[in-house]
């Protein structure tokens, strides 16, 4: 088969799997698991094959005219360069791991068939985004991911948190998608085509008339999808979904789509230095803010969610300094270790029966209950904290190195201000990242108190994928930084000495300071705290849904817990209160958008009920009155009716006679 055929099959197979899963889910339950796992696995294998054949050489381009539109035509086009090939491999790997993991995680879930089909559809949409060479086709995948994330985040729709979170995820990402669509139209009308190749040619020739406007409009959509400030608020709440969904959507696919989109169209953004500065500031605020917020969260998955936002900030930061190789390198290594972190967190939540770090810190010996999760999560957290030689170190250093190059003014067309912003924020975030990674590890695995409950061994399907993902988290960065430039633009991705020493030093400082704070707080008096799931012996999804539902009643809030022994209280001091609620951004949105909209809705309701309806009721009153009068005649006595009929007939006959005789 040609590379093009293989590449078409990659997004198509999960799509067909999803369609078959939705159709056969009820009638043939035995086929649901194979239909979920096999197409994704095959797509992964094909993506690897495509990547091997493409080999980082000249892009594979193929297209067929989908529809003539009268102005800018829409093509079904493939554009597979080194970025697309490698990102597709990561997406395939993570999706396969998630599907296998889900068979164990949602073992007894009655809605598993639709869940698995939606995950397949989601994977297919992401692969379409990755391979598409036409922006309209890309947009189709982009929007399918939006609706799939709505359904998947709301999987536990019995809990109010999940219902609210799915709506929020959908609305916030849509808020970004509207300017994104307008930006696509503006870009296409400037370039005369939706094809990525044509657009890039136009940019090279300097044919873009409104580069800043287009870049800023597109940035809004990217900020929504990739959870960048100020549209990031949906992502922490989206943790109300099942853990494998968090791993899929919020580590490697959906949020990566925004970063990947900028990486594809980087020349468009680089044409406007204002857009790059905006991107850099956005990345810096996102990185630093989310890392502070991550330090104060109590729900283990919310810590990881804020950490995802921060790591995406690194990627957009790399793009802001014009190095898409570094951004995609970090995307790939982050995809592996963040998926691992989420999946391991799912195992831990199942074993501990709670998602609260405060409760876990009061359980001793949790690490002995879940040795696989313990070891793999340690690897992933070290990768997250960018400790050499784990993969996160190399990818993060490539970002910082790119920022340093830009800050010193060595990069063309890149404002030095953008470089400095990203560099300073990146180094600060490195410190904070190590701090919250250390806090997560210490509070989860080094708890003191009662023995952790023993629920037997975790399902094999859930533990094996952890080790599969641990390999790239451990070794990918070190092995790949030398060869990846051949796949990308050719820029060197090797860590530079200055940033490596600075970054690692800061990371070690963050970890050690957190350790000291933890030692100090564990010596404090420990108040009993915590609640565990009502059915700890049930399958993992049930335990998680119960843990999410009980967090707010047990601790007063979905995000934080009133735990004086939390080391982050010592570290953050008075800032802790604000960081725990994400710096009040939700409250600001509540005041700025939610309340005015609700007030407007109340006004419309009043106008409809009290004003419009009054006229309608008034118009109905007269017919109703007449009807009541006519109904009086209906006595039920047939003879009365016949008498009336006779009288009517007589009157008509007399009238007819009078008319006929001309009287």
């Amino acid at each position: 088969m040609t590379t093009t055929t293989l590449a078409v099959l990659v997004p198509l197979l999960p799509f067909l799997g999803a369609a078959a899963g939705l159709l056969l889910g009820r009638t043939a339950p035995g086929f649901v698991r194979p239909l979920a796992v096999l197409p994704t696995l095959t797509a992964f294998a094909l993506a690897v094959l495509v990547a091997v054949r493409q080999g980082g050489d000249s892009p594979v381009v193929a297209s067929t005219r989908l529809t003539p539109t009268g102005s800018v035509p829409i093509d079904l086009a493939l554009y597979i360069d080194g970025f697309a090939a490698l990102v597709a491999v990561v997406v395939g790997l993570v999706a396969t791991c998630v599907q296998i993991y889900s068979t164990g995680y949602l073992r007894d879930d009655p809605r598993y068939p639709s869940y698995a089909a939606l995950v397949s559809l989601f994977t297919s949409a992401m692969l379409l985004v990755v391979y598409s060479g036409d922006l309209m086709v890309l947009l189709v995948g982009w929007e399918i991911m939006g609706i799939c994330s709505y359904f998947l985040v709301g999987h536990y729709w019995e809990t109010p948190e999940a219902r609210a979170a799915s709506l929020k995820a959908f609305l916030v990402t849509k808020l970004g998608d509207v300017p994104f669509l307008i930006g696509l139209f503006a870009l296409a009308s400037d370039a005369g085509s939706f094809r990525i190749t044509r657009i890039l040619d136009t940019v090279t020739d300097g044919g873009l008339d409104h580069p800043t406007l287009i870049a800023l409009l597109l940035l809004a959509g990217v900020a929504g999808k990739s959870a960048q400030f100020p549209l990031h608020t949906w992502l922490p709440d989206a943790m109300a979904g099942p853990t494998p969904v968090s791993a899929l959507i919020h580590a490697a696919t959906m949020v990566a789509a925004g970063v990947y989109f900028i990486a594809r169209l980087l020349p468009v953004f680089a044409a406007s230095s204002a857009a790059l500065v905006v991107l850099a500031v956005m990345a810096a605020v996102t990185m630093a803010g989310s890392a502070l917020a991550a330090l104060a969260q109590d729900d283990i998955k919310r810590v990881l969610a804020y950490s995802t936002i921060g790591q995406l900030g690194y990627m957009t930061g790399a793009l802001a300094v014009g190095d898409r190789g570094a951004a995609v390198f970090h995307l790939i290594s982050h995809g592996a270790f963040k998926a691992l972190l989420f999946l391991a967190a799912g195992v831990i939540i199942h074993a501990a029966g709670t998602n609260s770090l405060a409760a876990m810190s009061r359980m001793s010996n949790l690490r002995a209950r879940v040795p696989d999760a313990y070891w793999t999560m340690t690897v992933a957290l070290l990768a997250l904290a960018a400790i050499p030689p784990f993969s996160g170190f190399f990818s993060k250093e490539s970002v910082l190195g790119a920022a340093e190059t830009a800050a010193e003014g060595h990069a063309e067309h890149i404002p030095g201000a953008a470089g400095w912003t990203v560099l300073v924020a990146g180094l600060l975030t490195a410190l904070l990242t190590a701090a919250y990674a250390a806090r997560l590890w210490l509070r989860t695995f080094r708890g003191q108190g009662d023995e952790a409950p023993d629920h037997g061994r975790q399902p094999l399907s859930m533990t094996v994928v952890l080790w599969v993902l641990a390999i790239p988290s451990l070794a990918l960065g070190g092995l790949a930084y030398g060869t990846l430039p051949d796949w990308f633009d050719g820029d060197d991705l090797a860590p530079t000495l200055t940033t490596s020493v600075l970054g690692t030093g800061l990371a070690l400082t963050g970890g050690l300071v957190t350790y000291a704070a933890w030692r100090y707080t564990t010596a404090l008096a420990r108040t009993p705290l915590g609640a565990v799931a009502a059915h700890p012996e049930a399958d993992a999804a049930t335990v998680e849904a119960e843990a999410i539902a009980s967090h707010a009643p047990a601790y007063g809030d979905v995000a934080s817990a009133p735990d004086p022994t939390d080391p982050s209280r010592v570290l953050l001091g008075p800032l802790h209160r604000h960081a725990a609620v994400g710096f009040h951004l939700d409250a600001v949105y509540e005041t700025l958008f939610v309340r005015p909209v609700q007030a407007g809705a109340r006004l419309v309701r009043f106008l409809d009920r009290e004003v419009v309806d009054t006229y309608v009721r008034g118009a109905g009153a007269l017919p109703r009155l007449l009807g009541a009068a006519v109904r009086r005649a209906q006595t039920g006595n047939v003879q009365t009716y016949v008498s009336a009929l006779l009288a009517g007939t007589v009157v008509l006959v007399v009238a007819a006679l009078l008319v006929a005789t001309g009287a």
């Binding site: 009541a628 109904r631 009086r632 209906q634 006595t635 039920g636 006595n637 047939v638 003879q639 016949v642 008498s643 006779l646």
Partner: protein, 117 residues
């Protein structure tokens, strides 16, 4: 015979039937009155048919043919009508039309119907 005799007779028959339909309480008598009215019409049809056949040379005697139809339908009608009356009598113990007022508009029921609609 002059046309006036049968026509006047049929008018009398019809009026008698009409009075019966309007004034009688017993359903069977009402049905009998309906028969009277139908037969008045039959008499009219036959009388005018004869009168027409005198006036014109060729006629299809459609009046007489129609009479046969009317008689057939009247037989069927009285059969069904009596069956209904019997059924009503068995159910309610009466065949008094004045007491069979289930379709009357009742004020309180109409209010309820409006509220539910």
């Amino acid at each position: 015979m002059h046309l006036a005799y049968p026509v006047v007779l049929s008018a009398l028959l019809f009026c008698t039937g009409l009075y019966g339909v309007l004034a009688r309480r017993n359903a069977i008598l009402v049905l009998m009155s309906v028969e009277l009215m139908l037969n008045a019409v039959n008499l009219n049809l036959v009388a005018f048919d004869v009168w027409l056949s005198k006036a014109t040379e060729e006629t299809l005697h459609s009046g007489q043919a129609l009479t046969l139809f009317t008689i057939t339908i009247a037989a069927a009608e009285i059969g069904i009508g009596l069956a209904i009356v019997l059924a009503v009598h068995r159910n309610r113990g009466t065949a008094d039309i004045d007491k069979l007022r289930d379709t009357a508009e009742r004020p309180e029921r109409s209010e309820k119907a409006e509220a539910s609609a």
